[in-house]
Every structure is written in structure tokens, then in C-alpha cells.
């Protein structure tokens, strides 16, 4: 069976994988844009070198994709409404009477699909909000399950000594905050740089033991890079206020420091990258439109430059 290695723009490699596995990854929108492909993991070629892969990476027509996404949103809304009324074990597909740990295991398997980081950036708003509703519903049902005993009670009559009761579940010695299962508690998918554009926007950070003002260096649909002499520790949670030129109302957002650049470089000065963890839907739409407009402007300018150069 033919095997392939694929590499993205950042040089990350996956392989060996079969043609079927590639079909599945693309179909589930799990892959970033692919830059190179190899048949042996050593010799690499452009992604369109292998005719058998053209169909795998062919883009679905825009109208068809949009219709599929609207249909998916409707289906999801129905499922969310049903899950509101069902008993916990039915929502999470576990045996009746299951304890918290069993439910939590099933919850983690189920909830990932609906995490905001999993929703493709170009999804229509109705699909995005359908995902958000299902994610929040599952989180609230999980908070409900957190009140149950940790372990599933044994089916046999209680002949065991008192010391073996489920309440004796060991607990971690270190005090940790109770989980809320909000999207910001899940980490692992960072899409930095994919759609970043330069911008000049005033940003105020107000919860790092000081108020600090920055002029934003660049922004993407998922977060911002802030030039700063002070580099904040990874994971620091921030409250951010953006003041965009031409917009009266400021935008409030919450974010987490997900990367840092401790050295000054010509193209990337010292500073840190923040991923948005909370942004109101209308503000998210504004940021997305801002980024899209800037990208379109850049593309137009590049085209005009190219035209001018070739016309010389």
C-alpha cells in the first residue's frame, strides 16, 4: 500500500500515512495547508506532484461547502436541544448510574469536536454559534456530573468493609481550582501566524499588576502579537482593551500568553503572543472583518506591484 509523508509550511512532518488516512484527515478538516509531500520521508516534492493526491486536496466548491455547513448547524442545534433534557448517562453514552470519573472520561472524548479551536475560521456564524452552544451545554452537564461520587457504585450488595467505601478515593494533595470546563481550560491547538496582518491599534492590558499601553504589532483572527520590553510568562491570563481607529466603542477581550519572543529581531521585535480566550460574537466578527479587509488590501497591493513590474 502506498505511503506518504506530508509537511506543512512550518516544516512539521506527518507520516507514514496511507491515502485513506489522508482522505480522512482532509475530510475532517484536521490538516493545515500542505507544502510538500514525500513517498519515502526523505525526498520531498511539491504537493501537486502526485496525481493520485489531487482529488484528496481538491477544494470543495464554496457553495456546496456553505450548504453542508448550514445543514450541519441545523443538525447540531437539534442535538443540543435533545441533550438538554436527557439524563446525564444518555448525554454521554455511559451506563446508567456511572460515577463522575466515567462520565468525565466520556465527556472529554465528546466535547473536543465542539471546541472553538476546532471550528474552521471560515465557518458561517450559524455553525460557529451552534458549536458554541453544544460546547457550553456539555460543559454545564459535566459541571452537574461533578457533584456525583467519583466512582461508579458496585452492583453487588454492600458486603465490603466500611474502609472500602467509594468515599475513600484518594485526592491530590495540591489544591487546584475546580474546573469550569470553559473553552479557555482546553489547550493544544495554536494557529498563530496563519492569517496575521500588521495593524496599528492601541491595546491596554489591565491585569498584570499595572496598566500598560501597547501599539499592536499584528493581529490574526485568533489573537495578537504585542511588542513589549517586558515579556510575560507563558500561560498568563490577560484582560485586553482594543481601540481601533474609526470605531468608537472599544473591544474587550480575554486572552492567554501562548508564546514569547525574548529577543529583538528585525522582523519580530521583543514581545509576546496572546491567544483570545473570550471575545463577544459581534467583536469577533469585527476582528475577523478587520483581518479579512487587511488581507484583501495586501493581496491587491501585491497584485498591483506585480502588474507594474511586468509592465515595465
Amino acid at each position: 500500500m502506498a505511503r506518504y509523508w506530508i509537511a506543512d509550511m512550518k516544516g512539521r512532518v506527518l507520516g507514514p500515512v496511507t491515502l485513506d488516512a489522508l482522505h480522512e484527515l482532509v475530510g475532517h478538516r484536521r490538516l493545515p495547508p500542505i507544502a510538500r509531500i514525500s513517498r519515502d520521508g526523505g525526498a520531498w516534492a511539491a504537493a501537486d506532484t502526485y496525481p493520485e493526491l489531487l482529488a484528496v486536496f481538491a477544494r470543495v466548491a464554496e457553495a456546496q461547502r456553505r450548504a453542508q455547513q448550514v445543514q450541519e448547524a441545523e443538525q447540531l442545534r437539534l442535538e443540543t436541544d435533545l441533550a438538554r433534557e436527557k439524563p446525564l448517562h444518555e448525554v454521554f453514552g455511559v451506563p446508567a448510574g456511572s460515577g463522575r470519573d466515567v462520565i468525565r472520561g466520556a465527556y472529554f472524548v465528546m466535547v473536543k469536536r465542539f471546541h472553538p479551536d476546532r471550528v474552521p475560521r471560515d465557518s458561517p456564524p450559524e455553525l460557529r454559534s451552534a458549536y458554541e452552544e453544544m460546547f457550553e451545554l456539555l460543559a454545564s452537564r459535566m459541571r452537574e456530573a461533578d457533584k456525583l461520587p467519583a466512582a461508579t457504585p458496585p452492583p453487588a450488595p454492600a458486603a465490603a468493609p466500611a474502609s472500602a467505601a467509594p468515599a475513600s478515593q484518594p485526592r491530590s494533595a495540591a489544591p487546584t481550582p475546580a474546573p469550569t470546563y470553559g473553552p479557555e481550560e482546553f489547550v493544544g491547538i495554536e494557529r498563530r501566524g496563519e492569517d496575521r496582518v500588521e495593524a496599528n491599534v492601541r491595546v491596554t492590558i489591565r491585569n498584570v499588576a499595572m496598566f500598560s499601553d501597547h501599539y499592536l504589532l499584528n493581529i490574526s483572527m485568533g489573537g495578537v502579537f504585542l511588542a513589549s520590553k517586558e515579556v510575560l510568562p507563558l500561560g498568563t491570563m490577560l484582560d485586553l482593551i482594543f481601540q481601533f481607529e474609526g470605531r468608537k466603542a472599544p473591544i474587550h477581550a480575554e486572552g492567554r500568553v501562548v508564546w514569547e519572543n525574548a529577543e529583538d529581531r528585525p522582523k519580530q521585535p521583543r514581545g509576546f503572543g496572546v491567544k483570545f480566550t473570550k471575545l463577544e460574537p459581534e467583536d469577533r466578527t469585527f476582528v475577523e472583518d478587520f483581518v479579512r479587509d487587511a488581507q484583501a488590501r495586501l493581496a491587491r497591493e501585491a497584485k498591483e506591484k506585480e502588474k507594474a513590474r511586468s509592465g515595465r
Binding site: 507520516g15 507514514p16 500515512v17 488516512a21 507563558l234
Partner: protein, 124 residues
């Protein structure tokens, strides 16, 4: 679930933020944590340190996590491997498990999920 005794755990991910976060979760549980940022570094660390457990990303520079799972098992047969990846389609999960992984956690992950999966992997 009983708390597993402290273990040596290698975290392999090209994203420093993820490594830092996992280090924090695992150190708080009393484990000693090693780090590698790609497949080659991971193999070298497994060979020299023989960690009890490896938390392994799949999509990384130079060499794929998928490719090095059998090599980790050859270099240190007792080492258990938990894959952490957003590439969680059925075929890829099967392939990782058949190659020798003992578990697969989809990204994005939750702190509690990591703690429970690590405890389970160490107790098995």
C-alpha cells in the same frame, strides 16, 4: 483512581507553550519531566534516559511522532507512550496504537484529562 508513584516523563512537542504547560501539570503531581521539541531529540532522550512514559505529539519538525513510536519501543521497550494530537481521525488513532502507543488524547486537552490519563498509563 490511586495516585501513581512519581515517574520520569518525556514531553515531546514542537510548541514550547504546550511543553511548559505539561511540565507544570506533571511536576505538580510529583513527576520529573524531560522535554524534546522534535522526533530526533525525542529518540535521543529516550535512548539516554529510558523514561517511564512519553507524551508524544505527531506533527513535528524533521520526523513525525507516528514514525518514531516503533523506534521508541525498540530503544526502551518498557516505556509507555501516550499520543497527544489534534490529528485524531480513526485511521491515525489505530495506526498510532498499532505502532505501540498505549493511549491517544485529542488536542485541545484539559488539565484533568492529562492527569487522569498519565495516572492510568503509569498504573497499567
Amino acid at each position: 483512581m490511586a495516585t501513581a508513584p512519581s515517574a520520569s516523563i518525556l514531553v515531546v512537542d514542537d510548541d514550547r507553550f504546550i511543553r511548559e504547560l505539561l511540565r507544570r501539570y506533571l511536576s505538580a503531581q510529583g513527576h520529573s519531566v524531560l522535554e524534546a521539541s522534535d522526533g530526533d531529540q525525542a529518540l535521543a532522550t529516550v535512548t539516554s534516559h529510558k523514561p517511564t512514559l512519553v507524551l508524544l505529539d505527531l506533527f513535528m519538525p524533521h520526523r513525525s511522532g507516528l514514525e518514531i513510536i516503533p523506534e521508541i519501543k525498540r530503544a526502551s521497550p518498557e516505556t509507555r507512550i501516550l499520543v497527544l494530537s489534534s490529528l485524531d481521525t480513526a485511521t491515525l488513532v489505530d495506526q498510532a496504537m498499532q505502532n505501540g502507543a498505549s493511549g491517544f488524547i485529542s488536542k485541545p486537552f484539559h488539565r484533568l484529562e492529562i492527569i487522569e490519563a498519565v495516572q492510568k498509563a503509569l498504573a497499567s
